[in-house]
Structure formats: C-alpha cells, structure tokens
C-alpha cells in the first residue's frame, strides 16, 4: 500500500469515526426535536424518515397546558434563582475568610467544610426529609430551596480563586481604612467574578435538573419543578403521546442547552471542576 493510499484510508476512517460519534451524541436531541414538531399521525410512521412531512406547534401547545409547564418553569426559575442567591451570599464571604483572613482553627473548620463534599446528596435525602418534616416544611417552596442554601463545592471553588489575589492589594485597601466587608464587596467580589460565574453555571445546571429531591418534598402540583412535571406527564397517559412528551422534554432541556451554547468552556469547567481539582 502506497503512502498516498494509506493517508486517504486514514482520513476516511477518521471521518467515519467522527460521524459515528456525532450521531451517537446528537441523535437523541435530534429525535426529540423531530418528534416534537411532527404533525399528529406523523409520529408513528412507516419506515425511517429523517425529516417530518410538516412542522406544527400543536404538540408544544398540548404539552404546555396538560403538563402545566408554565407553572413548572416559573417554580423552577424561582427555586434556581433563590438557591443561587443564598449560595453566593454564604459561599463568597466564607471563601474569602478561608483564603485570606487569619483566625484560630481555620484549617480545621475548612477541613470540615471540605469533608462535606464527600457526602452525596442522595445518601442524605431521607434524613434531610425527616428534618424538614419536623420543621413542618415538607411540601412548601422553602423545602425545595433551604437544603441547598450553601455549597461546600462553591466555597472550595471560589476560595481557590481568591487565594491567587495578591496580599499586597488587600493590605493596601486595609491601610486606606477599608473594613473587611468593604474589601470583600469592592475588591474581592469583582476580582473573582470568573469563579463566581463558573460556580453559578454549575449550580443552575444541578438544581434545574434535580429530580430526586423535588420528587420527595413537592406533593402539590404547583410546586412541581420542570423535571418532576415532565416525569409526571410522561407517566400519566395509557396511550403514549410521544409528540407531546418530546415537546415537553425539549422545553425542559432548552434553558440549560442555551447556557451551554453561550458559555461552553466555563460550563464544562464548572461541571468538571469539582472532579478535576477536588
């Protein structure tokens, strides 16, 4: 085999592998969108047709009203924003204190926070439910938010960034008579904005997609978050309505997909940061 043929063969093989990889990762998304816009009676077709014969919004309208997607999207947004606000309020000051302030027992307390990273949410779901049930908070909006009011991962990620701020900068501010709170708000927060953004993407991703926890505490349909509303919708009908199911799935997927397309690098870094560094 001449070198030229070998080169052509390698190139063909690589294109083949790339095609297989792209089909594998994108096909479920494509099939979701394809089914969601297909006219009724077009969903069950004979033979594989990659494109639907027409495009309709009927499935989306049916899914939106039957699955109460409007209410679910609103609840999901409130929950995700409230969790993120609480996490930033608790994580950023703590991260600054662990990174730059000197106090007795700092390493011990930071170690306790890091150890919490090892305890997965799924394994503490039942006892957390017991705590909330004792506080009579089950089936309320706070029960969807409060258990995630702080994040050990957030403290860790933001602290890693604050450590790299030069001490001389903070010392100069202190000599100008700034209080620690002013230093935190006017110097630390603006400087560590990249870390805060990375963490925010991670937090929004995790809590928008969470299914197990809302399933435990949200009995009232008004409290259903998007994944829970979708799962309930998907399990109700005896006659499966795949057009509407995939439309609802597309609606639930879309906000995160848009975040990913706009901030891909930071998004991937946020999802993997916890695993790569800590």
């Amino acid at each position: 085999m001449s070198p030229a043929t070998a080169r052509v063969l390698t190139r063909v093989l690589r294109w083949l592998l790339v095609t297989i990889a792209v089909v594998w990762s994108a096909l479920p998304f494509y099939w979701m969108l394809r089914t969601s816009v297909a006219p009724a009676g077009e969903v069950f077709f004979d033979g594989i047709s990659p494109l639907p014969t027409g495009v309709t919004a009927d499935n989306y309208l049916r899914a939106w009203t039957t699955a109460r997607l409007g209410s679910a999207m609103a609840t999901g947004t409130v929950v995700v924003v409230a969790i993120l606000a609480l996490q930033l309020l608790t994580c950023v000051p703590a991260a600054y204190a662990f990174a730059k302030l000197r106090f007795r027992g700092r390493n011990l307390v930071y170690g306790l926070v890091l150890a919490a990273l090892l305890v997965p949410v799924q394994a503490t779901a039942v006892p957390t439910f017991l705590v909330l049930s004792r506080l009579e908070l089950v089936n309320t909006l706070p029960s969807l938010i409060l258990p995630f009011a702080t994040s050990a991962f957030g403290i860790f990620l933001i602290r890693q960034f604050i450590v790299t701020i030069p001490d001389s900068l903070l010392e100069a501010a202190r000599m100008d008579g700034l209080s620690q709170l002013r230093i935190l708000l006017t110097i630390v927060v603006p400087v560590c904005r990249p870390a805060i953004l990375t963490f925010a993407l991670f937090s929004v991703f995790v809590h928008w997609n969470d299914y197990l926890w809302p399933l435990l505490v949200a009995r009232d349909p008004h409290l259903h978050t998007p994944p829970l509303a979708l799962a309930v919708f998907n399990s109700t009908d005896l006659q499966p309505d795949y057009g509407a199911y995939t439309a609802a799935a597309a609606v639930v997927t879309m906000p995160i997909l848009v975040l990913f397309l706009f901030a891909r690098r930071r998004f991937v870094a946020g999802l993997s940061g916890g695993e790569i560094v800590g």
Binding site: A123, S179, N234, A249
Partner: protein, 310 residues
C-alpha cells in the same frame, strides 16, 4: 465592620510588614461573621442528616416523622434479608459492569477524535459535549421513545433488517441493559471532560520528543498519549462508578424498576421503601449502607485526584 482605631495599621507601614499580615483581632471577628452562615447550613444539611441517617436506621418512623419507635437492628435485619434489596444491589452491580468500561472507552475515543480534528475542533467538541447538557428526565423520556415497542426508532431499524420488534423496556432480559444505554450516553461525555483536561497537561516537550522519534498518528497515541492519560483513566473510572451507583432518574422514568424489579437500582428501591411503603427507618438503614459505600468510593476518588495532580 469598622476597624477599631487602636488596631488600625499606620499608613506608613513598611512594605516588608505588609507582605506578611499578622493575625488581627478584627480579622477573627470578620471571619466569624463571614463563615457562620455557611457553617450553619453545612452542619444542618450535611452533618445532621448524615448522623440522623445512622440514628434513624434503628427506629420505626411513620411518614409524618414525629413518633419514633426504637426498633434495634430490625431495620438492618429486614434490609439484609429482603430479596428486593438483593436484586437491587445485584442490578446496581450489573449497571456498573455494563456502563463503566463503555463510558470510559467512548469518552477517551471522543477526546482523541477532538484532539485530532484540527480546524473543526470547536464544532466537534460542542457536538460531543451535548449529552453533558442533558436533563436526565428529558433524555429518559426520549430514550423511552427511541426504544418503544411500537414505532420506536430502534425497532424501525431492526425491522429494516428483518428482526423484531423487541419489547426493550418490557422484557426482564432487556430492560436493564436498555436503561444502562442512557447512563453510558451521559457518562461518556462526562469522562471526555477528564480526557480533554488530561490531553492539555501533556507537556510540549513530550510532543517534540515524539516528533523527533518519527512517531505520528496511531503509533504516537499508543506509545505517548495513552500512557500520559493514565491518571485521567483512573479518575474517569471512579467518577463513572460514582454516577452509576447512584442511577435513579433514568430507571424511574423509563421502567420504574420493572418489569418485576428487573431494572430496580438501590436508589429507586430506597425511594420505594421510604415513600412507597412508608418505611422511613428502613429507607434510612439502606441509605446509611449506601453512604458507607459511596464514602469508600469518594475516598478512592480523592486518592485518584491527588495522584493525578502530583
């Protein structure tokens, strides 16, 4: 918080002192105020539940949760004797066996393809990272449709080959492997992240040395790149294991553990015992056992991370 005049540094402090900040009383007070909220919530939502899951596992607890009846080791005894638990534990092992190797291998393959892509790198990595963005409930709904008995794409394709149709999610033999496909689809792109990160850590000198030795293409991958990625392989394996042991969303949406418990995982069974049969003590016992297993895997992960970093 105002700094008392007595401890404020003079404006004329020497640079050498500024470089090594001393411990200041005002710092300690600010630090306390800064860490107290976070610490309170970590204690309330991590340490208290972890301790409670141990304590609750010795009690009979109704769903209202206000009267606990001491039950000794009976929760553990019934969990350990429960055939459903055995099946769910065995199924979870099967999920791991079926998922981990394909996830790591596909993730590695994807990363190598992106690395070799040249100009199209951005587009290709965006496409291959798509599964990372997926909502697992939404994707479980889509995969349920892809593998549907009537009109599902998989059965359409098999039909062209003259096979089937196969009731993928309705038969005990195929339900678990079919659910595992969703796990692999998602975990593979997660693993890819670690391999991409691993590829960037390969020093330029190593690439130059490979070029000097005339290594190109596949021989370079095999002799230079793969050995350098060994820490990433360990890390990806541990992460894929952690994700698979906790499989829940896809099982509950696609089969709800069925048919006849054939695809039940530990977490879906924990949910069923606690919130289907209202035995919160039993669910606590099961989640404590799970916590112990996950802590062991978590410690292994930390080791892998530390070894990868050094």
């Amino acid at each position: 918080m105002a700094i008392p005049a007595t401890v404020r540094e003079p404006r004329t402090a020497t640079p050498s002192r500024a470089k090594t900040p001393r411990r200041r009383p005002s710092d300690a007070r600010a630090a306390l105020a800064f860490i107290a909220p976070a610490l309170l919530f970590v204690a309330l939502w991590t340490y208290l539940p972890a301790a409670l899951s141990f304590a609750a596992s010795f009690f009979q607890i109704p769903l209202a949760g206000n009267t606990w009846t001491f039950a000794g080791l009976s929760n553990y005894a019934s969990i350990i004797a429960d055939g459903d638990v055995h099946q769910a534990a065995w199924n979870t092992v099967l999920y791991c066996v079926l998922s981990i190797v394909p996830s790591v291998a596909l993730g590695l393959g994807g990363a190598l393809l992106i690395d070799a892509a040249g100009r199209g790198q951005g587009v290709l990595s965006a496409l291959l990272f798509l599964p990372l963005t997926a909502n697992l409930v939404a994707m479980a709904v889509v995969f349920e449709w892809l593998f549907a008995f009537n009109g599902g794409l998989a059965n359409q394709a098999l039909g062209l080959a003259g096979v089937g149709p196969v009731n993928f999610l309705g038969e005990p033999a195929t339900a678990l492997p079919t659910v595992a496909v969703v796990g692999v689809w998602r975990a593979a792109s997660f693993c890819m992240v670690f391999f991409m990160a691993g590829l960037t850590t390969i020093p330029a000198s190593l690439h130059e040395a490979a070029a000097m030795d005339g290594l190109r293409g596949w021989s370079k991958v095999r002799r230079v790149v793969l050995p350098a990625l060994r820490p990433a392989v360990v890390l990806a394996t541990v992460v894929a294991t952690l994700q698979t042991v906790q499989i829940f969303d896809a099982v509950r949406v696609m089969t709800d553990g069925g048919p006849g418990g054939a695809s039940e995982s530990i977490l879906t069974l924990m949910w069923r015992i606690g919130f289907g049969y209202f035995q919160l003590g039993g669910a606590a016992a099961l989640s404590f056992l799970l916590l112990v297993v996950l802590l062991v895997v978590g410690v292994l992960r930390r080791r892998a991370v530390l070894r990868g970093a050094s």
